[in-house]
């Protein structure tokens, strides 16, 4: 049986761990709340941009064409952008994204296509280095310091790669926020652009019937809105990913705090038992000694 002092030390160290994890939980939930606000803002913006875009694509005025829509006949240079976090201790958040991307990569390699990994976040790059996967480029995740400016610059870089023909298709692998409490790793094709789906809504079909005036002409607006659309989309991915990371960290830390509480409880029982055994032992010794004197 472990002696009293050993158990006492263990309890002490677990109490410290509990303090750390519960603080991390609080930090994560504070950050999560901030990200949630930003997420709501950018979601509203994105849906508006999507709406205008669908309006444009459905205006029967001209045939709209933009190089960002053009698909390659045989796309064989494919880039996968992986959005991971900089830090761990957030459950399966990073691994989900990484494995999702690796599955896609395997599938594409199986079809004889060349893939390139563009990694955002230290965790992703560390893992790829560990399994000896080549990395095309790496940048750290800006996390909650993400600005729209940063997302635009990053998106411009991707767009240049696509337009110059260096990459034929670009995918983004990230964690999508479905509702506030459920997130899921997802991969979507950023370029070439697939037009947003039309939602059949009452108000919407009414809008389609009423003709908009476009100023300047629809083509010019389209060539303006497409990059904006991409930028917003990428910005949203960053925000959603950061939100999910904080959410996952909060859950992981909550579990850790609960688990350490349980361990402390168990250890306290063991400690009390050891103490009691010692006391009983001493009493028995004293009684034995007294009996021997008589």
């Amino acid at each position: 049986m472990a002696n009293q002092r050993n158990i006492k030390n263990r309890i002490k160290s677990i109490k410290n761990t509990k303090k750390i994890t519960s603080t991390m939980e609080m930090v994560a939930s504070a950050k999560m709340k901030k990200m949630q606000l930003r997420l709501e803002m950018s979601k509203a913006y994105e849906s508006k941009v999507n709406e205008i875009m669908t309006n444009l694509l459905n205006s029967e005025i001209t045939e709209l064409y933009d190089p960002l829509f053009s698909e390659f006949v045989n796309p064989n240079k494919i880039m996968i952008v992986q959005l991971t976090g900089n830090r761990g201790l957030c459950g399966s958040f990073n691994t989900n994204v990484i494995f999702n991307s690796l599955t896609l990569r395997e599938k594409l390699t199986g079809e004889g296509k060349e893939t390139f990994n563009y990694v955002i976040g230290k965790k992703g790059s560390n893992y790829l280095k560990f399994i000896n996967e080549p990395i095309y480029k790496f940048i750290p995740n800006p996390e909650d310091k993400i600005t729209f400016d940063f997302a635009s610059r990053f998106c411009n870089e991707l767009r240049d790669l696509f337009i110059s023909g260096e990459m034929h298709e670009i995918y983004i692998s990230y964690t999508k926020v479905i509702t506030r409490s459920s997130q899921k790793p997802e991969i979507f094709k950023l370029l070439p652009i697939t037009p947003p789906e039309i939602e059949e809504e009452e108000e919407y079909s009414q809008r389609l019937r009423s003709k908009y005036i476009f100023d300047p002409d629809p083509e010019k607006i389209l060539s303006y809105i497409l990059p904006l659309y991409l930028n917003v989309k990428v910005f949203n991915c960053f925000i959603e990913s950061s939100f999910s990371e904080q959410f996952a960290r909060r859950i992981a830390m909550k579990n850790a705090t609960d688990a350490s509480g349980e361990i402390i409880k168990e250890l306290t029982v063991t400690y009390n038992r050891a103490r009691q055994a010692k006391i009983t032992n001493e009493i028995a010794e004293i009684c034995g000694g007294a009996a021997a004197l008589d």
């Binding site: 205008i52 729209f148 476009f214 100023d215």
Partner: protein, 132 residues
């Protein structure tokens, strides 16, 4: 009570403005454009400039730096790339920045010079609104 245009101004980072206006003026890509009630549905591109929203005797001033405006069914949505309300701008700070740019003026036709003069142009518009 007269009917009014519902205005909302959004940027990717924040929901900047929500309110009503009798008369709205925006800076379109090629000049100012005004909207009154019952305007025909329209989508236009915005330039860098000031937005004036008149509501009764009160006028709200904002700066929008690029974006789109959509007006439909007396609702005006401005999707800006970047925007500020008048209260967010500090005229002293902006004038200081403009002075800095002017003092360090370099060849206006080099790439850096062009960026700086574009920046100066933006700041001038912000200053104009801040001083309203």
């Amino acid at each position: 009570m007269r009917k009014k245009i519902k205005c909302s101004i959004l940027t990717p980072e924040k929901y900047l403005y929500e309110g009503e206006a009798d008369f709205a003026v925006v800076q379109a890509y090629d000049g100012e454009m005004g909207f009154l009630i019952n305007h025909t549905p329209l989508i236009t591109q915005l330039g860098y400039g000031e937005i004036r929203l008149r509501n009764g005797d009160k006028t709200d001033y904002l700066v929008v730096e690029g974006g789109l405006v959509e007006i439909f069914d007396n609702k005006m949505n401005i999707l800006a790339e970047n925007a500020f309300t008048k209260d967010e701008l500090d005229s002293d700070e902006i004038s200081k920045k403009i002075r800095e740019i002017r003092e360090n003026r370099i060849d206006p036709f080099s790439e850096e010079g062009l960026i700086l003069s574009a920046e100066e142009h933006k700041l001038k518009i912000r200053l104009k609104v801040a001083k309203r």
